[in-house]
Amino acid sequence: MSDVVLTKVVKAYGATAVIHGVDLHIKSGEFCVFVGPSGCGKSTLLRMIAGLEGITDGEIRIGDKVVNDLPPRERDIAMVFQDYALYPHKTVFENMAFGLRLRKRPENEIQQRVKEAAAILRIEHLLDRKPGQLSGGQRQRVAMGRAIVRNPKAFLFDEPLSNLDALLRSEMRVEINKLHKRLKNTVIYVTHDQVEAMTLADKIVVLSAGHIIQVGPPDEIYNRPAHKFVAGFTGSPPMNFLDCTIADGGGAIELAGGVKLAVPEARRATCAAQAGKKLTFGIRPENVLANPAPAADVAAVAAQVQLTEPLGAETLGLLRVGDGELTGRFSPEAGLRAGAPLAAGFEMRKFHLFDPESGAAIRGAGW
């Protein structure tokens, strides 16, 4: 078993705390992604698990061992760095074999394990080359190869794809996914790219300013964000936010500018409890419809198209509704034209409400 368990982990530099008491349980074999904007502490947290940074308080456990005071080499982890950190003077083979050599494994075992890893990553033909002779994608594979030959308790990835171009990045994303399905090791992966997080993770940990904001599987993070920050960080384009109040005793949501949206029966009780408060209404771009057929849970709104962004398979439209602006994701057939009015609709089974002060989601049972 190689669960990774963090208990009340704190990191402070002098009087400035950057990680504020993080509790997290990553199960054996799980693919866990730390995601958040720059400076949220995700890399620091990963480096603390690796042992490259000390921890100020709390406990980190890998498998059944508390590793707080163990140096990285005694934690039985492998790490893939953002800049790959390949040894430029060693061949690809020696780069991959280095960890095994230091552990004094027999030569035939080293040969066998490096060749196996090279075969998995399809880099057998590169084994005699030096890192300087490789492309970015190849270096990335070597860095992963160096990690997998050791068969460690956990793999740590620190923004491994951020130095690759967009096409290669999506290719490597698939590779990493396949690799994890095959090896089934515990993976902790840091990224600021929510697409990587959504596509790779079994479990996403959203961090902001040294706090964990939400932990959950990707669909929960996307569909049931616990906080406005999470809702605004996931999805591309992210969720729309508009100021609103609850009207008609929970029967309607009134947006700034007097636009009223009928609330479906199932959500009325929760809304009624918030009557009179200023709230933030959230709706994802794909839940904004163009020219919808009349339906019970679709609220019709009159919108003005301000801008269109055709992306080929879909068209993004910046709409003005009441006093607010929001982005919708439409089929190209919807025929959006900048400057023209649009009969839009909101899927009211999918809206979100947030407390504008705390940012916390307001959610009834079954939302």
């Binding site: 042992g51 490259l52 492998a78 790490m79 760095f81 800049d83 040894y87 003077h89 552990r103 050791r150």
Partner: protein, 309 residues
């Protein structure tokens, strides 16, 4: 523009456009002053020296007589003092170049530590390098003085008898080596420090995760990554070691006897003290050849190395 028009067939030579031609002219014009200056201060003296080396040319005797390679023949086959000075120079190089490398590497590693206040370390590193060579020689002469020197004072303090550092041939040689290593290791350290600072921190982190101890990191990461800097430092240091002059001149003036006399000192004595310009020139030409050989050996080595990488 003109270039792309004429480049219709692969074999055709590209013609320079008007703009490119005028740029080339400007380039030549800008380089000319520097080239002329080099010609005047480097090429002319060397040619003059080579010519003088073929003549009997002593200021103590009248006449300027062409004698072919006689000066060279005398130096190589008859002059024991020349060979002794050459041997001394080689020993100085063999002892002080690795000595300065080891001390310099230690200093560079020390200066590369994440000290909170960096300037005292950097200053300590730079000071020996900034000090004039003759000063360093005089300081060490005083250190190794029989009566008032700090070294003998230290010897007496721990109960050892004082030594004749400057007047005993072997001890004098040793004392000069110590002074040269002290003076030259800071330059080594500067070059190696620059090299150390180019090694990415993530390599050490990767090695740490891979399981390397601090010593293994030094052997497996630092040394190989530092190799180009080490080679450059060795080249510079070897060339200056072959030219060793100031420190033994100030400390021992080549003495006792000729025990610490180097090639450069012998050339200096021949030309300035004995006023034998012809023979001095021949000796200088020989020293130039030795320097050139040492340099080319290192350059060859570096070229082979970069080729391999």
């Amino acid at each position: 523009m003109g270039a792309s028009v004429t480049a219709t067939t692969g074999a055709k030579r590209y013609k320079l456009s008007k703009l490119e031609k005028s740029e080339r002219l400007l380039g030549i014009a800008l380089l000319t002053p520097a080239a002329l200056l080099l010609l005047a201060v480097v090429v002319y003296p060397i040619v003059e020296l080579l010519i003088n080396s073929l003549y009997s040319y002593r200021l103590t005797r009248p006449g300027y007589r062409f004698i072919g390679l006689e000066n060279y023949a005398y130096a190589l086959f008859e002059d024991d003092r020349f060979w002794h000075a050459t041997l001394n120079t080689v020993i100085f190089a063999v002892v002080t170049v690795p000595g300065a490398l080891v001390v310099g590497l230690g200093l560079a590693l020390l200066a590369n530590q994440p000290f909170k206040v960096k300037w005292p370390v950097r200053l300590g590193l730079l000071l020996p390098w900034a000090l004039p060579l003759v000063f360093a020689g005089l300081i060490f002469r005083w250190f190794f003085e029989y009566r008032s020197g700090i070294v003998n004072a230290a010897f007496e303090f721990v109960g050892l008898p004082p030594q004749n550092w400057i007047t005993d041939p072997n001890l004098a040689f040793f004392a000069v080596c110590v002074a040269i290593v002290w003076k030259s290791s800071s330059f080594m350290a500067l070059i190696l420090l620059a090299g150390l600072q180019t090694i990415p921190k993530s390599l050490y982190e990767a090695a740490e995760v891979d399981g390397a101890s601090k010593f293994q990191q030094f052997v497996e990461i630092t040394l190989p990554m530092l190799k180009p800097a080490i080679v450059v430092a060795l080249i510079f240091r070897t060339i200056t070691a072959i030219q060793t002059f100031d420190i033994p001149y100030a400390m021992t003036n080549g003495g006792p006897g000729n025990a610490t006399e180097t090639m450069a000192m012998y050339i200096h004595k021949t030309t300035i003290d004995f006023l034998d310009l012809g023979y001095g020139s021949a000796l200088a030409a020989i020293m130039f050849v030795v320097s050139a050989i040492a340099t080319s050996v290192y350059l060859r080595h570096t070229r082979r190395d970069t080729g391999r990488n």
